[in-house]
């Protein structure tokens, strides 16, 4: 009888033993479960597949940018790592902003240890090469220009759990203004690329063209989310980005600072004067602003003029001439002016933008002197004006203007053409005696939400009549491409005000500039190269305002000996001669020239040149200078098909782990499980001991 009991008890022992094992197993299983949930929390984007309960991870793009600055040129290398976190092959498409005058001239695709150099091709042809490679299962990448400041990288056939790196290089001319130099790097996610400015049709087209997975850094637009029907999307982190600037200014530095981001600066070991290394502080990503870095030469070492040359193939040379006109002589009484202020009061300006615009306008009006005349035009669906025509800025009229400004409210659509017609209409021209000496300026305050850009450019170009058009971009997302271009066609400047704290500072700077139109009707002549200069850009020199340099790109057979600048300095004849001996060798001037040539052709198209002519010219230039443009793209194709490479890949990945990547250690002990197991065994032993006493 007791035997039976024993048997039953020993059964209990075994059951208990199994319980321990079961606990262990479930503990393991439990650990795995947690891991899965955690993977989701990393902020990856999950995409719905055709099956209702299956999700696929979107490729992750991390960006690493290094900006090398030598002399007047900034060269930026951007590495985009496309990682496929899923189990199937996928295509990644990544849209990203670049500075508006960026010349994209190199692309390399890095697959494991193979590097495939991108080739420049006519856009359609490049697309065909890419599509074909994609359908044949080869790895391929394509860099296209969507707008001068928006590009896409497409990468086909990214293997499961593997990474393809795309290296892009672009160069740009530094901005030199008010005695300081600056470089700008657009941060991937910025509200400036919300649909308000991004042309919807273009983005839509982008989605349609690529049936693969699409990663566009516009993840903060609600519309797009619904388009992707992304599920369980936790607040998405910014794509990882690291940014380093290697600065070789070429002169001793007084000051160096970043406008919106925290950076750390140090002097590199080989650092002479003017050399710095600047790193973006990874923890302080202000993703709502572009990265802008300024540096200033030490007083006394500020350059007045600079001339650089680059020897090219076949005897052609490229040159860059930069001259800062004299700054002190602006003390002369400024010429009288006629000012037309145009303010956008459309619904899109509602809120802070409108408040900023009104403040800017008040600021502008307050600076008028009785010698000036002015008018204010407001527009939304239609345009209306304060006076019938420009009136003298007498104190009582300024009071009326102030009332007028405070009554302005935003409402309705944006019909810019009417306002432009009014502002540039001949009847608004000054008709009194001495009108020749008068500066006629139009200030356009808007967020630039317009659709008929080309039509507007053409109108400005054809009806300017010696006036100058200044654009002021307001709000967090102005259409800066439109406003910069209209200012260029209007021979004025573009000012961007992103923050309401900046209104006073930036408007002051602009109006000081406008009151002191330094150099007009500028002509540049080069001596020592008669008949051999091939080309100078820009063909029509813009007016120069206080703090702005003359910047001329050239292509030539031989180095000129002298440059002669002639123009009107504060409405009086002025000329300056610069000896061009000893021009410093500088890489990248050819690329710069090519990029500016392409831009000048695009401008011609905007003012009505034949589309085919423009297209052919730009394709030629793109191929010659190896540049991405509206009509040329960079494409790279891996000659070995990806599918067949799977075996090689595995080996490669193992190699990589040893060579380039660090192996992770085993970092847990079984201390706890041993202690738990031990404790359980002790408890069982107790149990058995007590049971023995009971039965005995």
């Amino acid at each position: 009888m007791s035997r039976k009991v024993i048997k039953a008890k020993s059964g209990l022992v075994w059951q208990s033993a199994w319980l321990v094992v079961g606990l262990m197993i479930s503990a393991m299983g439990w650990g795995v479960e947690i891991t899965k949930i955690n993977e989701v929390r990393q902020g990856e984007l999950l995409l719905k597949t055709e099956n209702p309960n299956e999700y696929q991870l979107a490729p992750i793009v991390s960006t690493d940018a290094v900006i090398e600055i030598t002399g007047p040129i900034a060269r930026t290398r951007v590495r985009q790592q496309f990682t496929n976190p899923g189990d199937s092959w996928m295509e990644g498409v990544y849209a990203f902003p670049l500075p508006e005058n960026a010349a994209v001239d190199h692309m390399r695709m890095v697959v494991g240890e193979r590097i495939i150099e991108g080739m420049i091709k006519e856009r359609q042809q490049a697309k065909k090469i890419y599509q074909q490679a994609k359908s044949e299962g080869r790895r391929a990448s394509l860099v296209e220009q969507i707008r001068p400041d928006l590009f896409t990288t497409s990468v086909a056939n990214i293997g499961p759990n593997s990474t393809i790196t795309i290296e892009l290089e672009y160069q740009e001319l530094l901005s030199w203004q008010d005695g300081q130099f600056s470089v700008r790097y657009p941060m991937a996610i910025t509200p400036r690329y919300l649909p308000a400015t991004v042309d919807d049709s273009e983005i839509r087209e982008l989605f349609e063209l690529n049936d693969g997975w699409t990663v566009v850094p516009l993840a903060n637009t609600g519309k797009e989310k619904s388009k992707r029907e992304s599920q369980q999307e936790t607040p998405r982190k910014n794509p990882p980005i690291s940014l380093t600037v290697h600065l070789d200014a070429g002169f001793p530095l007084e000051e160096i600072f970043s406008r919106y981001h925290k950076v750390s600066t140090d002097i590199p070991l080989d650092g002479g004067e003017g050399k710095r290394r600047i790193r973006l502080d990874a923890s302080s990503h202000a993703s709502d602003h572009d990265f802008v870095l300024y540096w200033k030469p030490k007083a006394g070492s500020a350059p007045r003029a600079a001339f650089f040359t680059e020897k090219g193939d076949g005897g052609d040379q490229h040159g860059l001439l930069m001259v800062m006109p004299p700054q002190q002589e602006a003390l002369v009484l400024p010429p009288a002016r006629e000012l037309i202020y145009v303010i956008d009061t459309s619904g899109s300006m509602d809120g802070p933008s409108m408040a900023q615009a009104k403040e800017a306008l008040r600021k502008a009006v307050s600076r008028l002197t009785p010698r000036d005349s002015f008018n204010i035009i407001e527009f939304n669906n239609s345009a209306s004006s304060l006076f019938d025509g420009p009136e003298r800025a007498t104190p009582d009229r300024l009071l009326i203007a102030d009332h007028y400004i405070s009554r302005i409210e935003s409402d309705g659509g944006t019909e810019m053409m009417g306002a432009l017609r009014m502002a540039l209409a001949p009847k608004y021209g000054w008709t009194e005696r001495g009108s020749e000496e008068r500066l006629r300026q139009v200030v356009f305050i808007t967020d630039g939400a317009v659709g008929n850009e080309v039509e507007l450019f053409r109108y400005i170009h054809e009806n300017l009549n010696g006036r100058r058009l200044f654009t002021v971009g307001i709000g967090s997302a102005p259409n800066s491409y439109f406003m910069r271009k209209s200012a260029q066609f209007g021979r004025g400047t573009f000012t961007y005000i992103g923050d309401s704290d900046e209104v006073a500072e930036k408007m002051d700077l602009l109006f000081t500039k406008m009151e002191q139109a330094v150099l007009t009707d500028l002509v540049v002549e080069l001596e020592g190269v008669e008949g051999e200069i091939v080309k100078m850009l820009p063909e029509e020199a813009p007016d120069l305002y206080r703090g702005e340099p003359v910047v001329i790109s050239m292509k030539m057979r031989q180095t000129p000996t002298r440059a002669v600048l002639r123009g009107r300095f504060n409405a009086k004849p002025w000329s300056s001669e610069i000896a061009l001996k000893g021009g410093r060798e500088q890489a990248g001037l050819g690329t710069l020239f090519g990029r500016r040539m392409i831009e000048s052709w695009m401008d011609r198209k905007a003012v009505g040149a034949d589309e085919d002519d423009v297209r052919n010219a730009i394709i030629q230039l793109g191929l010659q200078y190896h540049l991405v443009s509206k009509y040329t793209s960079l494409v790279a194709v891996d000659v070995t098909p990806a599918e067949r490479l799977q075996e090689i890949d595995k080996r490669e990945m193992k190699m990589n782990h040893r060579l380039a990547s660090l192996k992770l250690a085993k970092t847990a002990t079984d201390s706890e499980i041993r202690m738990i197991g031990g404790a359980l065994m002790l408890m069982l032993s107790m149990l058995l001991y007590r049971r023995r006493r009971v039965t005995a």
């Binding site: 947690i34 955690n38 660090l662 250690a665 847990a668 002990t669 079984d670 201390s671 065994m681 069982l684």
Partner: protein, 188 residues
């Protein structure tokens, strides 16, 4: 009857041994740090590797501090199991502590590097190298990865510190594929 007594005794002994072996790991981790501390002091003074006890296979190469956690550890050469039992270990393929490049230090999730569970981005980490020079780092990223697909680049132009421990922290069984990776960049 007797069989059951024997079973009880066997279970008692085995259980005690098993429990002790688990507890020993914890004790070793704590006690070793004390002995390593002395060896580290000698290392910094002499500038040469000093073994913490005569039969040790490893020697201290750095000291890592977590000011916000109020903890610091001596780091041993190598990151295999024999060194990790006593201290966090430096991956010998990575940059030497304090040198330019990526320095990788691993630790057990249930002993020294348990504290990684509590660190946050922006926290400071200090690393003293064998020459006594202290570099400051700031945590820039915390991530979990599967070691089978982890790709941690070994080169960087700057001083980067990568701290690794197992994940999840409260998994009972060792040997899972997930790792908790804390990346810190040098603050100049």
């Amino acid at each position: 009857m007797r069989g059951r007594t024997i079973a009880a005794v066997v279970l008692l002994v085995a259980g005690a041994l098993l429990f002790w072996s688990g507890a020993w790991i914890q004790i070793k981790a704590v006690v070793a740090q004390g002995m390593l501390e002395f060896a580290w002091g000698q290392t910094v003074i002499s500038g040469k590797p000093v073994k913490p006890w005569p039969w040790a296979d490893h020697w201290p190469v750095a000291r890592i501090g977590f000011p916000e956690q109020g903890e610091d550890f001596v780091v041993l050469y190598g990151d295999n199991g024999s060194s990790l039992a006593f201290a966090p270990g430096w991956n010998i393929r990575s940059a030497r502590p304090g040198d330019e490049g990526v320095t990788m230090i691993s630790g057990h999730r249930d002993t020294h590097f348990r504290l990684l569970e509590g660190v946050t981005v922006g926290e400071q980490i200090t690393l003293e190298n064998s020459r006594g020079r202290v570099h400051n780092y700031k945590i820039t990223n915390i991530n979990t990865v599967d070691y089978r697909m982890a790709n941690i680049p070994s080169n960087s132009m700057f001083r980067r510190l990568v701290l690794v421990t197992c994940y999840p922290f409260d998994a009972v069984v060792a040997g899972g594929p997930m790792r908790y990776v804390v990346t810190a960049e040098q603050v100049i």
